[in-house]
């Protein structure tokens, strides 16, 4: 989508009937929202009629993302990867967060397989009021036995709603896997220079997205893409290879070159989502812990340097947590404001003797503190001080959190009318301001714990 | 010794029609001519494409030919086949480039360009001159560099060498002078990819600078991958000894060991020499230039144009690049020296350009006016042509008749060189002119005339 796209270019192609079916006042409003990506193209019903098909296609060409969006489906869920509009997130925002797949293999006994699949599906971590989950199951055929693979896929489909990536270079094994994946569109991994024709057959027959694997050879990758497009297959995913150890440099170079060719040189044949396979860390010699360690930081680097999907092996929390949080951070919309409204918040049923605490209006800090107060079932008032969206220690270091500001916000909040006492619990990381706050606000200061997780223990011991 | 391509290898690829349309009667003879570098495969109109390609790669000189600049002033460097000139010849003369920096004032630049362009010497039938300008960006600022180029372009259209370590300055420069196909340098391992992109986009040759020959090879392989093949090598070396070694290894590596990544002409910087005592600095630049000229230096960058330094270098270049198989000749016929009248003497010499140069110069220095008849001896000196009886008395007579010397002078006396005394009699019989045997050395002519000529 051309970044400098103006709503006028869209408006010209709309029915201009102001029929309001899209829920907006008129077509111009719809065009403006569409360009700002705040509404979907399908909201305009008239465009769906064959009369406007030509216009719809033209609009689509104007607003479609540079990077093709590929959808991986299970009967009940779908995961979108790619579909990005910009190379660097600050140019606009990233759209589809990197989909993380954990692998299972077709040599696992059934119960172990089901247990692992369930673990993948149930994996979750709550972070700023959001549940962070894993997205896909990568089914690998280590036996290369079509029946075994078919059976494994069947078991996976029966035991998880997560869409799948079917991993084998053997077309016969892939076919039996696909035939078991009823009513779903798993990602086929992968077509190579040896099996591209058969894999192309399967992809068009089952209408599934297809990964192209050309290790460290972008010329071959492009050639295979061109061949597949000739086949009529449009939903493609690219794998230039993830190489652990000394190969980390070539890996990042390949991912970066493909991304830049797509966005800065409009190379159609490379404008597809990229899949990284940090699982290759496990192919190296050496200690298991070193392999887990490398897989984790390789995944981290690939999330930053343009992977739209990842396949990992280690299901341990310490390894997946940094990945899902990094993905969450990188894919948040940099345009969205980062702060929450300053002012007073009440938790539970506070009375005139309930404690008063304060924190900053950085969304992340506020939600963390709020979550800990709720989990501690504490009745209290929480004063949110405006620090221009900075966390406690950044605000203190950047001198956005000062004693004056705390004193002023106490006055503005009129908390003095709500509680008899004049004691306020300040964040542990703002301890150096305790003296000044007492001076400026006239309130007695209790220096609270360094992290809000310590609030419950602190309140029991220190708050009388 | 360079392994020669055998004519039979060439012959196999020829149509073997002996049609003669290439200007040579038979295909085998044509094959021989190609091997000697005296004929070009494209002269044969019946070659198939693959045969032509195969022939070109077979006959392509082990050192790539690189063209710099466009139009009349375009220069060619490289295309060499041998390590020792006596094995065949050195094909494309070394080129002298004069250094200009973007820190010089415009007056300084204009003056230096004028001086360089006016430096011309006519010698032995050739015009010796400076060939290029090397414009270097010292400021590191793109706009300043382009400004300097604007001034340079207004005063010369000789080919340019653009020197800067920042690819961005070169890009801006190429946007201004790109179509003149300048040489850009230096390509280093820090900027090889960007320089490859520039070279590809503007189709310009590049000069590669590595700290050792292995690094030069890797850089060249990378440039080839980008499709850049017009390359010069800056020989690695911290001192003159190492640079001379590098130059030797590059040429013999390409010519004898057929190492593709060394098969390129070279760019040398004699003015990089560090000499502490002042007055020796200029001499050292000349000595380094001479050493480079003798050992395969392609383009030589001179810091300034000083007559006492540039004249000798030009003579050395002229000498080294003369084809040892065919001596330098001038057109036979009548050459008028000074302002002769009906009483002035008539003299004779051979058409070997060195002999003519010596004789004509000595006559000028001694202030003698004369009609000088230059006899065609196939470019041999008096001594050698007398020994090999290449001076044909009839041709002397014919020269006198054709140039109607009898109408120009009253007398019928001709002075022949001392070393050609033997032929005096025959020349008298055939020409009907009285022969006077002149001195052995043309510096003695004045004395000889005073004794033997004026008294009559």
């Amino acid at each position: 989508m051309a970044k400098e796209l103006s709503p006028l270019d869209i408006y010209k192609l709309l029915p201009k009937t102001n029929c309001k079916e899209c829920g907006l006042e008129n077509c111009m409003a719809f065009a403006t929202k569409l360009v700002a990506m705040e509404i979907g193209l399908d909201a305009c019903k008239p465009l769906l009629t064959s009369k406007y098909r030509r216009n719809r296609e033209k609009i689509w060409d104007l607003i479609k993302p540079t990077l093709k969006e590929v959808v991986i489906k299970s009967p009940t869920k779908e995961v979108k990867i790619g579909g990005e509009y910009v190379m660097y997130r600050h140019e606009l925002t990233y759209i589809n967060p990197t989909a993380i797949a954990v692998d299972v293999t077709d040599d696992l006994p059934k119960d172990e397989l089901i247990e692992r699949v369930k673990k993948i599906e149930n994996f979750s971590y709550s972070y700023i009021g959001k549940e962070l989950k894993l997205n896909l199951v990568a089914v690998r055929s280590v036996t290369e036995d079509p029946e075994k693979f078919g059976e494994t896929v069947k078991t996976v489909v029966e035991n998880t709603s997560l869409p799948m990536i079917l991993c084998t270079f053997n077309p016969k094994v892939m076919k039996s896997g696909l035939s078991e994946a009823k009513n779903s569109k798993p990602l086929i991994y992968a077509a190579t220079k040896d099996n591209w024709d058969k894999m192309g057959e399967l992809a068009s027959m089952y209408n599934c997205p297809l990964t192209i694997f050309a290790p460290n050879d972008i010329t071959l990758l492009k050639s295979l893409v061109k061949t597949m497009k000739e086949y009529g297959i449009e939903d493609l995913v690219l794998d230039p290879g993830t190489f652990p150890g000394d190969g980390v440099s070539a890996t990042l170079n390949n991912f970066t070159m493909i991304r830049r060719a797509a966005f800065k040189e409009n190379d159609e044949l490379l404008s597809f989502p990229l899949i990284g396979t940090p699982i290759t860390a496990w192919t190296q010699e050496g200690r298991i812990l070193d392999k887990k360690w490398e897989e984790t930081y390789l995944a981290g680097m690939l999330i930053v340097r343009f992977a739209d999907a990842l396949i990992v092996h280690n299901l341990e929390g310490w390894s997946l947590l940094p990945q899902i949080i990094l993905r969450e951070n990188i894919y948040t919309d940099p345009r969205k404001p980062v702060a929450v409204e300053p002012g007073i918040r009440t938790f539970g049923q506070p009375n005139e003797n309930s404690p008063v605490l304060f924190t900053t209006n950085f969304a992340l800090t506020y939600y963390t503190v709020a979550a800990d107060i709720q989990s501690a079932k504490l009745d209290c008032y929480l004063l949110v001080v405006d620090t221009e969206g900075l966390s406690v220690d950044s605000a203190v270091a950047g001198r956005k959190l000062t004693a004056d500001r705390v004193a002023d916000s106490i006055k503005e909040s009129k908390i003095e009318e709500k509680v008899k006492h004049r004691k306020i619990v300040i964040p542990g990381r703002a301890s150096r301001l305790s003296g000044e706050i007492e001076e400026k606000s006239g309130w007695k200061v209790l220096v609270g714990p360094l992290d809000s997780s310590g609030i419950p223990k602190f309140m029991q011991e220190k708050w009388k | 010794m360079a392994k020669k391509i055998s004519p039979t290898d060439i012959y196999k690829l020829l149509p073997k029609k002996n049609c003669g349309e290439c200007g040579v009667p038979t295909c085998m003879a044509f094959a021989f001519k190609i091997v000697e570098g005296k004929a070009n495969p494209s002269q044969c109109p019946y070659l198939s494409e693959e045969a032509k390609d195969a022939l070109l790669t077979k006959t392509a000189p082990p050192v790539v030919k690189v063209e710099i600049g466009t139009g009349r002033n375009k220069v060619v460097i490289g295309g060499e086949k041998v390590a020792f000139r006596h094995e065949e010849k050195f094909y494309n003369e070394a080129l002298f480039a004069v250094e200009i920096s973007d820190r010089m004032s415009s007056e300084e630049i204009i003056e230096k360009i004028k001086e360089a362009e006016e430096f011309r010497i006519e010698r032995m039938g050739q015009t010796l001159k400076l060939n290029m300008f090397a414009v270097k960006s010292v400021s590191g600022n793109a706009e300043k560099f382009v400004e300097t180029l604007k001034i340079v372009k207004q005063h010369t259209n000789l080919p340019l060498i653009l020197c800067s370590t920042t690819p961005y300055s070169l890009m801006k420069a190429l946007e201004f002078v790109g179509e003149d196909k300048p040489l850009i340098c230096p390509v280093t391992s820090m900027n090889v990819n960007q320089m490859a992109v520039l070279a590809k986009k503007f189709k310009t040759p590049v000069a590669v600078h590595g700290s050792n020959l292995e690094e030069v090879k890797t850089l060249i392989t990378r440039l080839n991958q980008f499709g850049v093949n017009e390359i010069l090598i800056i020989p690695p070396g911290q001192n003159l000894m190492d640079e001379i070694s590098s130059l030797t290894i590059i040429r013999r590596g390409a010519v004898e060991k057929k190492i593709k990544t060394l098969g390129y002409p070279t760019l040398v910087f004699p003015n990089l020499i560090k000499v502490n005592n002042g007055n020796f600095k200029d001499y050292w630049e000349v000595m380094a230039s001479a050493a480079f000229l003798l050992r395969y230096g392609g383009i030589i960058i001179l810091s300034n144009i000083v007559k006492w330094a540039v004249l000798p270098l030009m003579l050395l270049r002229q000498a080294i690049y003369i084809d040892p198989r065919i001596p330098l000749q001038i057109k036979p016929g009548l050459y008028v020296i000074g302002s002769p009248d009906e009483n002035s003497p008539v003299m004779m010499t051979t058409n070997y350009s060195l002999t003519y140069h010596i004789v004509s110069n000595d006559l000028k220095i001694q202030g003698i006016s004369t009609y000088l008849l230059v006899v065609d001896t196939g470019g041999l000196s008096v001594n050698t042509s007398v020994a090999g009886n290449k001076i044909n008395p009839d041709s002397v007579a014919r020269l006198i008749k054709e140039n109607r010397i009898e109408e120009k002078v009253k007398h019928k006396k001709i002075i022949i060189p001392g070393r050609a005394a033997k032929l005096g009699g025959e020349i008298e019989d055939v020409s009907g002119w009285e022969v006077l045997v002149g001195p052995f050395d043309s510096r003695e002519i004045k004395g000889f005339l005073e004794k033997k000529w004026l008294r009559q």
Binding site: - | C163, N239, I244, V286, P312
Partner: protein, 335 residues
């Protein structure tokens, strides 16, 4: 071809060493002797190996009025008329390592008076300086008679310098017996002069070897065409002779010489403005020497002391302390 070959050819032959100048122990009166030759590699192929003896420079002293340009006459002043004083000055002031006494040439030999003086000059010079000597006769033979005079003067010189191991010459392909025998007897190395032709050089060397001389007593002069006056022939002949010798041709395995002094006969140096022609002349001479040395010459017989100093610096650069270069990057920073 991954790595780059350092040597292109394994040479079987090597150039023999020739000693000039005999010290007291060797029956002479020189304070030291100079050894040239012994090359195992082509000239300045330092990547293959460093030859044992660097090229050496002899300063020329003329015992007759040579056709030298005005700028040189001005430089040497009245030394030109006193060869003995000139030799002493060459050694003491101009640091000459060897002196080459140019006895006469085709024109001055006709003037009989010079001959008597020449023997005195040689004796006086032998006393005046203790450096190894080269004695050079007629280099530009015109008539047959010149050969005779040359033989006469050089056999005389051989006697006078008996035991001093001077380099005496030139001998020619058709005039070598007398001088050759004299030098063999009086133990002097011989300067074998041919006219820029490998076969002539082979012929003359063979004759000298048959006389009883060895390669260790022959220095080859393929004749110097000065810069702009045939230097390309000298360059190629020197190269071909050196390559043949290194490839095993025993006859040619002797050191060779370049006469950089020839460059002062260039017509370009006749013009008047003194300073410019002197610097041009010095450059002509230096370039002639460099061309010879880079083609294999082991001795440079030089004239202008300034040129000799520069040639020595150039040679020094390849044998012990090479002159450093600044890098291209530094060059791009200097104004």
């Amino acid at each position: 071809m991954s790595s780059i070959p350092i040597s292109f050819e394994k040479y079987e032959g090597e150039i023999k060493e020739v000693e000039i100048g005999a010290t007291k122990t060797e029956g002479g009166t020189r304070s030291y002797s100079v050894t040239v030759g012994g090359d195992k590699y082509l000239p300045l192929y330092s990547f293959e190996g460093i030859n044992p003896n660097p090229p050496r420079i002899a300063h020329e002293v003329y015992c007759y009025h040579a056709p030298l340009p005005g700028s040189l006459f001005n430089f040497f002043g009245d030394l030109v008329d006193n060869p003995v004083e000139w030799s002493r000055e060459a050694v003491n002031k101009f640091k000459a390592e060897m002196v080459n006494l140019r006895l006469t040439d085709a024109f001055s030999i006709r003037n009989e008076t010079f001959k008597k003086e020449i023997s005195n000059v040689i004796e006086e010079v032998l006393q005046a300086v203790k450096v190894p000597l080269l004695i050079t006769g007629v280099m530009d033979i015109i008539e047959m008679d010149d050969y005779r005079k040359n033989n006469e003067i050089l056999t005389k010189s051989a006697e006078i310098c008996e035991g001093e191991k001077c380099l005496i010459g030139p001998v020619y392909t058709n005039a070598f017996q007398e001088i050759g025998k004299a030098c063999l007897e009086k133990k002097h190395p011989v300067l074998a002069k041919t006219n820029m032709d490998v076969n002539q050089a082979l012929k003359l060397n063979t004759s000298l070897l048959n006389l009883g001389l060895t390669n260790k007593e022959i220095i080859m002069d393929v004749t110097t065409g000065a810069l702009g006056y045939g230097i390309e022939y000298t360059f190629s002949t020197l190269e071909r002779v050196k390559i043949r010798a290194l490839r095993g041709d025993k006859i040619l395995q002797s050191p060779s010489i370049i006469f950089s002094s020839e460059s002062w006969l260039a017509r370009e140096l006749q013009e008047e403005d003194k300073l410019e022609t002197e610097k041009t002349g010095i450059t002509f001479e230096v370039l002639t020497a460099i061309t010879g040395i880079m083609a294999g010459a082991n001795i440079s017989s030089s004239l202008h002391p300034e040129a000799a100093k520069l040639i020595n610096e150039f040679v020094n650069n390849f044998f012990n302390e090479p002159k450093q270069f600044i890098t291209v990057e530094e060059w791009l920073k200097t104004r």
